[in-house]
Protein backbone atom coordinates (compact mmCIF):
# COMPACT_ATOMS: atom_id res chain seq x y z
CA UNK A 1 0.00 0.00 0.00
CA UNK A 2 1.30 3.44 -0.92
CA UNK A 3 2.20 5.63 2.06
CA UNK A 4 -0.24 8.36 1.04
CA UNK A 5 -3.04 5.77 0.73
CA UNK A 6 -2.22 4.36 4.14
CA UNK A 7 -2.35 7.83 5.59
CA UNK A 8 -5.69 8.66 4.00
CA UNK A 9 -7.25 5.36 5.02
CA UNK A 10 -5.94 5.31 8.57
CA UNK A 11 -7.09 8.93 8.98
CA UNK A 12 -10.63 8.04 7.88
CA UNK A 13 -10.80 4.98 10.13
CA UNK A 14 -9.47 6.80 13.14
CA UNK A 15 -11.96 9.59 12.73
CA UNK A 16 -14.99 7.42 12.05
CA UNK A 17 -14.59 4.36 14.28
CA UNK A 18 -11.51 5.02 16.38
CA UNK A 19 -9.73 2.11 14.74
CA UNK A 20 -6.00 2.62 15.01
CA UNK A 21 -4.76 1.10 11.78
CA UNK A 22 -1.17 0.12 12.42
CA UNK A 23 1.43 -0.81 9.81
CA UNK A 24 1.27 -4.43 11.03
CA UNK A 25 -2.42 -4.54 10.20
CA UNK A 26 -2.04 -3.40 6.62
CA UNK A 27 -2.25 -7.00 5.43
CA UNK A 28 -5.92 -6.93 6.46
CA UNK A 29 -6.74 -4.01 4.21
CA UNK A 30 -6.68 -5.86 0.93
CA UNK A 31 -8.82 -8.83 1.96
CA UNK A 32 -11.36 -6.59 3.65
CA UNK A 33 -11.62 -3.83 1.07
CA UNK A 34 -11.32 -5.67 -2.23
CA UNK A 35 -14.91 -6.94 -2.04
CA UNK A 36 -16.08 -3.32 -1.74
CA UNK A 37 -14.06 -2.30 -4.78
CA UNK A 38 -15.44 -5.23 -6.73
CA UNK A 39 -19.00 -4.45 -5.69
CA UNK A 40 -18.66 -0.92 -7.03
CA UNK A 41 -16.87 -1.95 -10.20
CA UNK A 42 -13.69 -0.18 -9.13
CA UNK A 43 -10.27 -1.34 -10.24
CA UNK A 44 -8.81 -2.97 -7.14
CA UNK A 45 -7.50 -1.21 -4.08
CA UNK A 46 -5.97 1.57 -6.17
CA UNK A 47 -9.32 2.22 -7.82
CA UNK A 48 -11.00 2.30 -4.42
CA UNK A 49 -8.47 4.75 -3.01
CA UNK A 50 -8.85 6.96 -6.08
CA UNK A 51 -12.63 6.95 -5.61
CA UNK A 52 -12.15 7.84 -1.97
CA UNK A 53 -9.96 10.79 -2.94
CA UNK A 54 -12.17 12.22 -5.65
CA UNK A 55 -15.50 11.85 -3.91
CA UNK A 56 -15.75 10.53 -0.38
CA UNK A 57 -19.50 9.99 -0.20
CA UNK A 58 -21.07 8.66 2.97
CA UNK A 59 -22.12 5.17 1.82
CA UNK A 60 -18.59 4.41 0.65
CA UNK A 61 -17.05 5.69 3.88
CA UNK A 62 -19.53 3.67 5.90
CA UNK A 63 -18.86 0.47 3.96
CA UNK A 64 -15.13 0.90 4.35
CA UNK A 65 -15.41 1.60 8.06
CA UNK A 66 -17.62 -1.43 8.66
CA UNK A 67 -15.46 -3.69 6.53
CA UNK A 68 -12.40 -2.81 8.55
CA UNK A 69 -13.95 -3.74 11.92
CA UNK A 70 -13.19 -7.16 13.35
CA UNK A 71 -16.47 -8.83 14.23
CA UNK A 72 -15.39 -12.17 15.57
CA UNK A 73 -17.46 -13.23 18.56
CA UNK A 74 -18.46 -16.41 20.36
CA UNK A 75 -21.16 -17.53 22.74
CA UNK A 76 -19.80 -17.69 26.30
CA UNK A 77 -16.54 -16.19 25.08
CA UNK A 78 -13.75 -17.09 27.55
CA UNK A 79 -16.28 -19.00 29.75
CA UNK A 80 -15.22 -17.45 33.11
CA UNK A 81 -16.77 -14.00 32.67
CA UNK A 82 -20.19 -15.58 32.39
CA UNK A 83 -19.58 -17.77 35.41
CA UNK A 84 -18.68 -14.73 37.47
CA UNK A 85 -21.71 -12.97 36.01
CA UNK A 86 -24.06 -15.69 37.25
CA UNK A 87 -22.30 -16.65 40.44
CA UNK A 88 -20.94 -13.38 41.80
CA UNK A 89 -22.27 -10.25 40.12
CA UNK A 90 -25.88 -11.25 39.71
CA UNK A 91 -26.27 -12.34 43.36
CA UNK A 92 -24.61 -9.07 44.43
CA UNK A 93 -27.02 -7.05 42.32
CA UNK A 94 -30.02 -9.08 43.45
CA UNK A 95 -29.22 -7.87 46.94
CA UNK A 96 -28.28 -4.33 46.05
CA UNK A 97 -31.30 -3.74 43.78
CA UNK A 98 -33.84 -5.52 45.99
CA UNK A 99 -35.92 -2.34 46.31
CA UNK A 100 -35.97 -1.43 42.61
CA UNK A 101 -36.02 -4.96 41.20
CA UNK A 102 -34.54 -3.65 38.00
CA UNK A 103 -31.17 -4.48 36.41
CA UNK A 104 -29.79 -2.85 33.27
CA UNK A 105 -26.96 -4.35 31.22
CA UNK A 106 -25.18 -2.85 28.24
CA UNK A 107 -23.19 -4.73 25.59
CA UNK A 108 -21.22 -1.86 24.13
CA UNK A 109 -19.85 -3.65 21.06
CA UNK A 110 -22.17 -6.57 20.58
CA UNK A 111 -21.13 -7.61 17.08
CA UNK A 112 -23.33 -10.46 15.78
CA UNK A 113 -25.18 -10.93 19.06
CA UNK A 114 -23.45 -13.86 20.75
CA UNK A 115 -22.55 -11.80 23.83
CA UNK A 116 -25.99 -10.29 24.56
CA UNK A 117 -27.71 -13.61 23.82
CA UNK A 118 -25.29 -15.37 26.18
CA UNK A 119 -26.35 -12.91 28.89
CA UNK A 120 -30.01 -13.37 28.02
CA UNK A 121 -29.64 -17.15 28.36
CA UNK A 122 -27.81 -16.71 31.69
CA UNK A 123 -30.65 -14.54 32.96
CA UNK A 124 -33.21 -17.02 31.72
CA UNK A 125 -31.41 -19.81 33.55
CA UNK A 126 -31.76 -17.72 36.73
CA UNK A 127 -35.41 -16.98 36.04
CA UNK A 128 -36.55 -18.22 39.46
CA UNK A 129 -34.42 -15.74 41.34
CA UNK A 130 -35.45 -13.00 38.95
CA UNK A 131 -39.20 -13.53 39.23
CA UNK A 132 -40.79 -10.10 39.52
CA UNK A 133 -37.63 -8.35 38.29
CA UNK A 134 -37.16 -6.30 35.18
CA UNK A 135 -33.95 -6.95 33.25
CA UNK A 136 -32.88 -4.88 30.27
CA UNK A 137 -30.12 -5.87 27.89
CA UNK A 138 -29.17 -3.05 25.58
CA UNK A 139 -26.82 -4.11 22.78
CA UNK A 140 -25.09 -1.67 20.45
CA UNK A 141 -22.49 -1.72 17.73
CA UNK A 142 -21.18 0.70 15.13
CA UNK A 143 -21.88 -1.69 12.26
CA UNK A 144 -25.38 -2.05 10.82
CA UNK A 145 -24.32 -5.21 9.07
CA UNK A 146 -23.52 -7.11 12.28
CA UNK A 147 -26.63 -5.71 13.95
CA UNK A 148 -28.79 -7.18 11.17
CA UNK A 149 -27.34 -10.58 11.84
CA UNK A 150 -27.66 -10.15 15.60
CA UNK A 151 -31.34 -9.24 15.27
CA UNK A 152 -32.01 -12.25 13.07
CA UNK A 153 -30.47 -14.54 15.68
CA UNK A 154 -29.57 -17.21 13.13
CA UNK A 155 -26.21 -18.94 13.46
CA UNK A 156 -24.25 -21.59 11.58
CA UNK A 157 -23.40 -24.98 13.04
CA UNK A 158 -19.84 -23.75 13.38
CA UNK A 159 -20.91 -20.65 15.34
CA UNK A 160 -23.10 -22.52 17.81
CA UNK A 161 -20.27 -24.90 18.60
CA UNK A 162 -17.80 -22.27 19.72
CA UNK A 163 -18.60 -21.94 23.40
CA UNK A 164 -22.30 -22.71 23.64
CA UNK A 165 -22.98 -25.62 26.05
CA UNK A 166 -24.94 -28.33 24.26
CA UNK A 167 -27.71 -28.28 26.87
CA UNK A 168 -28.34 -24.63 26.08
CA UNK A 169 -28.26 -25.26 22.34
CA UNK A 170 -31.07 -27.80 22.56
CA UNK A 171 -32.95 -25.68 25.06
CA UNK A 172 -32.83 -22.31 23.34
CA UNK A 173 -32.30 -22.99 19.63
CA UNK A 174 -34.30 -24.52 16.82
CA UNK A 175 -32.72 -26.07 13.77
CA UNK A 176 -33.79 -24.41 10.54
CA UNK A 177 -32.17 -26.14 7.58
CA UNK A 178 -28.46 -26.07 8.25
CA UNK A 179 -28.75 -23.11 10.59
CA UNK A 180 -29.70 -22.63 14.22
CA UNK A 181 -32.31 -20.04 15.16
CA UNK A 182 -32.44 -18.62 18.67
CA UNK A 183 -35.68 -18.81 20.66
CA UNK A 184 -37.81 -15.68 20.05
CA UNK A 185 -38.20 -15.31 23.82
CA UNK A 186 -34.41 -14.96 24.21
CA UNK A 187 -34.21 -12.70 21.19
CA UNK A 188 -36.90 -10.51 22.68
CA UNK A 189 -34.81 -9.90 25.80
CA UNK A 190 -32.21 -7.90 23.85
CA UNK A 191 -32.74 -4.41 22.44
CA UNK A 192 -30.38 -3.56 19.60
CA UNK A 193 -29.37 -0.20 18.26
CA UNK A 194 -26.58 1.32 16.23
CA UNK A 195 -24.10 3.32 18.28
CA UNK A 196 -20.59 4.61 17.79
CA UNK A 197 -18.56 4.59 21.01
CA UNK A 198 -16.72 7.68 19.79
CA UNK A 199 -19.91 9.71 20.11
CA UNK A 200 -21.98 10.67 23.13
CA UNK A 201 -23.80 7.71 24.67
CA UNK A 202 -25.09 9.31 27.85
CA UNK A 203 -28.64 9.15 26.48
CA UNK A 204 -28.62 5.36 26.95
CA UNK A 205 -29.12 5.91 30.66
CA UNK A 206 -27.45 4.18 33.60
CA UNK A 207 -26.21 0.59 33.58
CA UNK A 208 -25.45 -1.77 36.44
CA UNK A 209 -23.18 -3.89 34.28
CA UNK A 210 -21.35 -2.85 31.12
CA UNK A 211 -19.76 -5.37 28.78
CA UNK A 212 -17.19 -3.56 26.68
CA UNK A 213 -15.20 -6.51 25.47
CA UNK A 214 -12.73 -6.82 22.64
CA UNK A 215 -13.31 -3.39 21.16
CA UNK A 216 -11.05 -1.02 23.13
CA UNK A 217 -8.19 -3.17 21.92
CA UNK A 218 -8.58 -1.55 18.47
CA UNK A 219 -8.46 2.02 19.80
CA UNK A 220 -5.46 4.19 20.56
CA UNK A 221 -4.56 5.08 24.13
CA UNK A 222 -6.40 8.41 24.26
CA UNK A 223 -9.64 7.03 22.95
CA UNK A 224 -9.50 4.08 25.36
CA UNK A 225 -9.14 6.48 28.27
CA UNK A 226 -11.95 8.69 27.02
CA UNK A 227 -14.40 5.84 26.42
CA UNK A 228 -13.64 4.29 29.83
CA UNK A 229 -14.19 7.64 31.41
CA UNK A 230 -17.55 8.13 29.74
CA UNK A 231 -18.61 4.58 30.66
CA UNK A 232 -17.80 5.31 34.29
CA UNK A 233 -20.31 8.16 34.20
CA UNK A 234 -23.09 5.76 33.20
CA UNK A 235 -22.53 3.49 36.17
CA UNK A 236 -23.81 3.65 39.72
CA UNK A 237 -21.04 3.42 42.30
CA UNK A 238 -21.62 -0.32 42.71
CA UNK A 239 -21.72 -1.09 39.00
CA UNK A 240 -19.42 -3.48 37.16
CA UNK A 241 -17.46 -3.33 33.93
CA UNK A 242 -16.30 -6.30 31.86
CA UNK A 243 -13.37 -6.01 29.49
CA UNK A 244 -11.96 -8.59 27.07
CA UNK A 245 -9.24 -11.07 27.93
CA UNK A 246 -6.47 -8.94 26.41
CA UNK A 247 -7.74 -5.64 27.80
CA UNK A 248 -7.22 -3.85 31.11
CA UNK A 249 -7.77 -0.49 32.76
CA UNK A 250 -4.34 -0.58 34.34
CA UNK A 251 -2.17 2.21 33.05
CA UNK A 252 -5.19 3.89 31.44
CA UNK A 253 -7.44 5.15 34.18
CA UNK A 254 -7.78 5.12 37.93
CA UNK A 255 -11.57 5.35 37.72
CA UNK A 256 -11.84 1.57 37.58
CA UNK A 257 -10.14 -1.10 39.66
CA UNK A 258 -9.80 -4.80 38.90
CA UNK A 259 -12.18 -6.84 41.03
CA UNK A 260 -10.30 -9.22 43.29
CA UNK A 261 -10.43 -12.85 42.19
CA UNK A 262 -12.50 -12.10 39.05
CA UNK A 263 -10.45 -11.70 35.91
CA UNK A 264 -11.80 -9.23 33.42
CA UNK A 265 -14.20 -7.60 35.91
CA UNK A 266 -13.73 -4.03 37.14
CA UNK A 267 -15.56 -1.81 39.57
CA UNK A 268 -15.45 1.91 40.18
CA UNK A 269 -12.51 2.98 42.28
CA UNK A 270 -14.68 4.75 44.84
CA UNK A 271 -16.27 1.43 45.72
CA UNK A 272 -14.23 -0.81 48.02
CA UNK A 273 -13.49 -4.32 46.77
CA UNK A 274 -16.18 -6.90 47.47
Amino acid sequence: MKPEDFELLSGILKERSGLALTKEKVYLVESRLLPIARQRGLDGLDGLMAALRSNSEEPLLKDITEAMTTNESFFFRDVRPFESFREVLLPALLKAREAKKHIRIWCAACSTGQEPYTLAMCLREEAQKLAGWRTDIVATDISDEVLEKAKAGVYSQFEVQRGLPIQLLVKYFKKVGDMWQIDPAIRGMVRYSQLNLMGDFSKLGAFDIVFCRNVLIYFDQNLKVEVLDRISHLMPSDGFLYLGGAETVIGLTTKFMPMKGQRGVYHLASETAH
Binding site: Q157, F158, Q161, R162, L169, K174, K175
Partner: protein, 121 residues
Protein backbone atom coordinates in the same frame (compact mmCIF):
# COMPACT_ATOMS: atom_id res chain seq x y z
CA UNK B 1 -1.55 -35.21 31.80
CA UNK B 2 -5.16 -36.24 31.19
CA UNK B 3 -6.02 -39.21 29.03
CA UNK B 4 -8.50 -39.03 26.17
CA UNK B 5 -9.93 -42.14 24.54
CA UNK B 6 -10.80 -41.51 20.90
CA UNK B 7 -13.50 -43.84 19.61
CA UNK B 8 -14.12 -43.69 15.87
CA UNK B 9 -14.16 -46.28 13.09
CA UNK B 10 -12.37 -43.90 10.74
CA UNK B 11 -8.62 -44.02 11.01
CA UNK B 12 -8.37 -40.57 9.45
CA UNK B 13 -10.69 -38.98 12.00
CA UNK B 14 -8.82 -40.70 14.82
CA UNK B 15 -5.49 -39.33 13.69
CA UNK B 16 -6.86 -35.81 13.11
CA UNK B 17 -8.41 -35.86 16.59
CA UNK B 18 -5.26 -37.32 18.10
CA UNK B 19 -3.15 -34.48 16.74
CA UNK B 20 -5.56 -31.84 18.06
CA UNK B 21 -5.75 -33.47 21.49
CA UNK B 22 -2.02 -33.89 21.80
CA UNK B 23 -1.66 -30.22 21.08
CA UNK B 24 -4.00 -29.61 24.01
CA UNK B 25 -1.70 -31.73 26.18
CA UNK B 26 -3.78 -34.91 26.36
CA UNK B 27 -2.41 -38.43 26.23
CA UNK B 28 -4.50 -40.35 23.73
CA UNK B 29 -5.73 -43.93 23.39
CA UNK B 30 -7.76 -45.15 20.42
CA UNK B 31 -10.57 -47.60 19.77
CA UNK B 32 -12.35 -48.53 16.53
CA UNK B 33 -15.76 -49.34 17.97
CA UNK B 34 -17.76 -49.38 21.19
CA UNK B 35 -16.69 -52.88 22.15
CA UNK B 36 -12.99 -52.07 21.92
CA UNK B 37 -13.65 -48.87 23.82
CA UNK B 38 -15.30 -50.75 26.67
CA UNK B 39 -12.27 -53.05 26.87
CA UNK B 40 -9.98 -50.03 27.11
CA UNK B 41 -12.17 -48.53 29.84
CA UNK B 42 -12.18 -51.73 31.91
CA UNK B 43 -8.41 -51.75 31.96
CA UNK B 44 -7.81 -48.07 32.38
CA UNK B 45 -10.62 -45.57 32.76
CA UNK B 46 -9.76 -42.44 30.71
CA UNK B 47 -10.53 -38.91 31.88
CA UNK B 48 -12.42 -38.05 28.73
CA UNK B 49 -13.88 -39.92 25.77
CA UNK B 50 -14.37 -38.45 22.30
CA UNK B 51 -17.09 -40.64 20.87
CA UNK B 52 -18.40 -41.27 17.35
CA UNK B 53 -22.01 -42.40 16.94
CA UNK B 54 -22.12 -44.76 13.95
CA UNK B 55 -19.64 -47.60 14.21
CA UNK B 56 -19.76 -51.33 13.46
CA UNK B 57 -19.96 -53.95 16.25
CA UNK B 58 -21.16 -51.53 18.95
CA UNK B 59 -22.22 -47.96 18.22
CA UNK B 60 -21.54 -44.90 20.35
CA UNK B 61 -24.88 -44.67 22.12
CA UNK B 62 -24.80 -48.38 23.07
CA UNK B 63 -21.28 -47.96 24.33
CA UNK B 64 -22.22 -44.92 26.39
CA UNK B 65 -25.17 -46.67 28.05
CA UNK B 66 -22.96 -49.66 28.88
CA UNK B 67 -20.18 -47.39 30.16
CA UNK B 68 -22.45 -45.41 32.46
CA UNK B 69 -23.74 -48.68 33.97
CA UNK B 70 -20.24 -50.08 34.52
CA UNK B 71 -18.13 -49.66 37.61
CA UNK B 72 -16.36 -46.29 37.59
CA UNK B 73 -18.03 -45.56 34.25
CA UNK B 74 -19.75 -42.48 35.59
CA UNK B 75 -16.46 -40.64 35.90
CA UNK B 76 -15.18 -39.89 32.39
CA UNK B 77 -16.40 -36.82 30.57
CA UNK B 78 -17.99 -38.03 27.34
CA UNK B 79 -18.04 -35.77 24.30
CA UNK B 80 -19.92 -37.09 21.30
CA UNK B 81 -18.35 -36.26 17.96
CA UNK B 82 -20.63 -37.23 15.12
CA UNK B 83 -22.32 -36.23 11.87
CA UNK B 84 -25.66 -36.48 13.68
CA UNK B 85 -27.07 -32.98 14.20
CA UNK B 86 -30.77 -33.31 14.88
CA UNK B 87 -32.05 -31.99 18.19
CA UNK B 88 -33.73 -35.34 18.94
CA UNK B 89 -30.45 -37.19 18.48
CA UNK B 90 -28.56 -34.70 20.63
CA UNK B 91 -31.17 -35.09 23.35
CA UNK B 92 -30.89 -38.86 23.09
CA UNK B 93 -27.12 -38.56 23.61
CA UNK B 94 -27.53 -36.27 26.62
CA UNK B 95 -30.12 -38.67 28.02
CA UNK B 96 -27.65 -41.53 27.69
CA UNK B 97 -25.09 -39.59 29.72
CA UNK B 98 -23.11 -37.47 27.24
CA UNK B 99 -21.58 -34.29 28.69
CA UNK B 100 -21.04 -32.49 25.41
CA UNK B 101 -21.79 -32.95 21.74
CA UNK B 102 -19.74 -31.96 18.71
CA UNK B 103 -21.31 -31.95 15.28
CA UNK B 104 -18.84 -32.86 12.54
CA UNK B 105 -17.04 -31.29 10.82
CA UNK B 106 -15.00 -30.00 13.72
CA UNK B 107 -11.72 -28.15 14.18
CA UNK B 108 -9.29 -27.42 17.01
CA UNK B 109 -11.26 -24.32 17.98
CA UNK B 110 -14.43 -26.35 18.55
CA UNK B 111 -12.63 -29.10 20.48
CA UNK B 112 -10.90 -26.51 22.61
CA UNK B 113 -14.05 -24.58 23.37
CA UNK B 114 -16.11 -27.72 24.13
CA UNK B 115 -13.40 -29.10 26.39
CA UNK B 116 -13.17 -25.77 28.18
CA UNK B 117 -16.95 -25.78 28.70
CA UNK B 118 -16.81 -29.09 30.55
CA UNK B 119 -13.85 -27.94 32.63
CA UNK B 120 -11.14 -30.01 30.97
CA UNK B 121 -8.91 -27.08 30.01
Amino acid sequence: MKTCLIVDDSKTIRSVARRMLEELQFTTVEAEDGKQALEVCTKNMPDVILLDWHMPVMNGIEFLRALRRSEGGGAPVVVFCTTENDIERIQEAIGAGANEFIMKPFDTGIIESKFAQVGLL
